[in-house]
């Protein structure tokens, strides 16, 4: 290996590791998780087998015999090597345990009361009710809520109970008893049938289209062209002001908008004396919510286009502009025939780039309307976030959220590849001139 390759590996290794673990792996995992039912309930590391009362209820709905289920759900008290061991470890009276082991090994009791009555008659019987109550639970045997690490353990336990379950039923039961996550395509099925999907898709299209056309491209063009015609000092002030929303921390930026629109906010302070009823301008109607969602995001988004378009306009040869003025073009004609044609590529670039970032951004909406009122401003990316990381019910739907995110990831991958076309890639990978 050449000297420079060795140094190259050392130089690039940290970046490779970080990008691989926190960028490429997440892309992959988003794909994997979206085919699972992972949630807070299932955990993420895999699970165990557990029969819960609610599971039994479900099974009885599915046509399992009531008697069989009762026998699974019943508890018994056994004097066996295993239960004795548990009691010993828990520190129960050794003399009592010794007596149980020598004389009563193998006896079964069907209820706690019966078992405790039996215990009280023994020679080494517990001396207090408290001791009795603390000793008896160690001998309890029940499948309910017991964790089995493997399916085999569960089946063995079921067989031991000598229920009338058929092998088929046992399989069904153990599958239902699994508490961890399982592979499934339900997320995508759910996505296609839920009415919410249509709503958030519609919302996303509205959000991206309006913000992109009105602000990220439209208003950005206006800013770039307008500041171009102003004296340098004034132009600088306006550009600096319009960069403010972009550099301000987003939480603070949204607070300012909330202050503007709140029930007792600035807008009301101005409009109230004019006879307009006091209201929360941001959330009182769907239309208003959308206006502010677009404004809040648009004010941030306009700056990128402004900067790119401005530098493209400055790159237009000055004589071209002077010539058009000499030829008698008015300002509109100058913009239309000289400036705009020069901006074709920057406009296309900004459109594609910002379309992608709007599609996947949700921070400002989360902080301002949080998808409200109702879920009228809930966009796709926000829905993914809400489902997986922040929902009202507390049971976070990682799997479903990942499936929603996967849609965006796929779009992101496709559009990122489109970007390769924007760069003259061959030029960027010219061979290094030092051949060491």
């Amino acid at each position: 290996m050449s000297l420079s390759a060795k140094l190259g590996y050392v130089f690039i290794a940290p970046a490779l590791v970080l990008v691989a673990v926190f960028f490429l792996t997440p892309v992959l995992l988003t794909g994997i998780f979206s085919f699972t039912n992972m949630s807070t309930a299932t955990g993420i590391t895999g699970g165990a087998y557990q029969i819960t009362p609610s599971l039994l209820r479900d099974l009885s709905d599915q046509g399992f015999e009531k008697a069989t289920l009762d026998s699974i759900g019943s508890e018994s008290y056994q004097i066996a090597k295993a239960t004795l061991q548990i009691a010993r470890e828990a520190g129960s009276e050794p003399s009592l345990l010794a007596e149980l082991e020598e004389e009563h090994l193998g006896q079964n009791f069907t209820s706690r009361r019966e078992f405790e009555r039996f215990l009280k008659k023994l020679q080494n019987r517990p001396r207090s009710t408290r001791e009795l109550k603390s000793t008896s639970p160690h001998f309890r045997k029940s499948l309910i809520n017991e964790r089995f690490e493997t399916e085999k353990d569960l089946k063995a336990a079921l067989t031991e109970l000598q229920t009338k379950l058929t092998p088929d039923q046992i399989n069904k039961l153990s599958q239902a008893a699994y508490t961890g996550w399982v592979w499934t395509t339900d997320n995508f099925y759910k996505m296609t049938i839920l009415p919410e999907t249509k709503q958030i898709l519609f919302n996303t299209i509205i959000y991206v289209t309006f913000t992109l056309l009105l602000f990220n491209v439209g208003f950005a063009l206006f800013l770039a062209i307008a500041t171009f015609y102003l004296p340098k000092g004034q132009a600088g002030i306006f550009r600096a002001l319009w960069l403010l929303p972009r550099i301000s921390p987003s939480v603070l930026y949204v607070v300012l908008w909330k202050w503007l629109t709140w029930d007792t906010g600035f807008l009301n302070a101005i409009l109230n004396p004019l006879g307009v009823a006091q209201r929360n301008w941001m959330l009182d109607t769907t239309l208003n919510a959308w206006v502010f969602v677009v404004l809040i995001n648009g004010f941030i988004g306009a700056s990128m286009g402004m900067i790119l378009f401005s530098s493209a306009i400055t790159a237009i040869p000055k004589p071209l502009l002077y010539a058009s003025e000499v030829d008698g073009a008015n300002r509109w004609q100058q913009i239309r025939f000289i400036i705009l044609p020069q901006l074709k590529w920057p406009i296309l670039f900004v459109t594609v780039y910002q379309c992608l970032s709007l599609l996947t951004s949700f921070e400002q909406i989360l902080l301002s309307t949080d998808g409200g009122p109702g879920s009228t401003t809930e966009v796709w990316a926000l829905a993914a976030y809400h489902n997986a990381l922040d929902n009202y019910w507390g049971n976070l739907q990682y799997g479903y959220g990942a499936a929603l995110a996967l849609v965006l990831v796929v779009i992101g991958v496709i559009m990122s590849f489109i970007f390769l076309r924007f760069f003259r890639f061959q030029e960027l990978v010219r061979q290094p001139r030092i051949e060491q």
Binding site: G8, W242, P249, S250, L252, W259, F425
Partner: protein, 274 residues
């Protein structure tokens, strides 16, 4: 530029469009030191009470200085990590003969446009698995990784513009590739390092979602989360307090912005060029 056209129509339109920004930001400053009657537009009295959060903890909230320290640690670690990793990787991609250089570059180019925020669910689960959930280190590493493609891309652009002859001369003078990079090339890309450093510091300082999702605990809270939780808390709903915290939060940003405005313009212009 041209004097052949009148400026005032443009100026008027611009001023009107900019009114909301000017309003919001001037009241941001004004409201932190004044009180306004309910329903009033102009402040009625001067006060410093909105700044009390600096010396007394707000009920149920973490200590502001602890939170500020966390934010500082978070933002500067992200900055240092992004800088050191991007400046080495960018150099390797720009100048060194490594196998698969082409593929690496294409990868960086694709990722730099990739919407990383869509990955947050998977990242959240990864941090849980490797035990870095609810730690500052975890968020720092994640934030750094997500910034890397852009950082590497920017640094590569800057390295590309350093003349090859400088490096060749360095080799002839007997310096190793490492020495050449460290002592001859790195000083040439100082503007890039400053720009990227400021950019990644500000990104870290302003980031809200990553710390909120990946490290929600009180003891690792950063200013964005602090301010957001303050607003979400119904017990003390007071815009002047939010603004004071917000101004306190934004001051370093504004100062850096004033100093490095030109350099930042380049990066906020999409990071497509150095």
């Amino acid at each position: 530029m041209s004097q052949n056209f009148k400026n005032w129509p443009i100026l008027t339109a611009l001023v009107l469009a900019t009114v909301p920004i000017v309003l919001m930001y001037s009241y941001l400053v004004l409201d932190t030191i004044t009180n306004t009657e309910p329903g009033g537009i102009l402040p009625s009295s001067f006060t410093l009470e909105h700044w009390r959060f600096l010396y007394e903890d707000i009920e149920g909230k973490a200590n502001i200085w602890q939170v500020t320290l966390n934010t500082l640690v978070f933002a500067s670690s992200v900055m240092l990590l992004v800088l050191s990793v991007s400046s080495t990787a960018g150099y390797a991609l720009s100048r060194l003969n490594i196998p698969f250089r082409r593929e690496f570059l294409a990868g960086v180019l694709i990722l730099h446009a990739f919407p990383s925020i869509t990955l947050i669910i998977a990242i959240f689960l990864i941090l849980q698995l490797i035990g870095l959930y609810n730690t500052l280190i975890g968020v720092i590493i994640v934030m750094t990784s997500l910034q890397l493609p852009l950082g590497i891309w920017i640094m590569k652009g800057f390295y590309d513009s350093v003349p090859w002859e400088i490096e060749m001369a360095g080799l002839q003078d007997g310096a190793s590739r490492f020495t050449v990079w460290y002592r001859l090339v790195l000083p040439q890309v100082r503007p890039g390092i400053i720009a990227l450093g400021v950019f990644s510091f500000l990104s870290g300082w302003g980031e809200y979602i990553l710390p909120t999702v990946l490290a929600p605990a009180n003891n690792v809270q950063v200013l964005s989360g602090y301010l957001a939780s303050l607003i979400a808390d119904d017990r003390n709903f007071e815009f002047n307090l939010f603004k004071s915290v917000g101004l306190f939060y934004a001051t370093p940003v504004v100062i850096m912005y004033l100093f490095f405005q030109d350099k930042l313009m380049n990066i906020y212009g999409g990071g497509t060029k150095g």
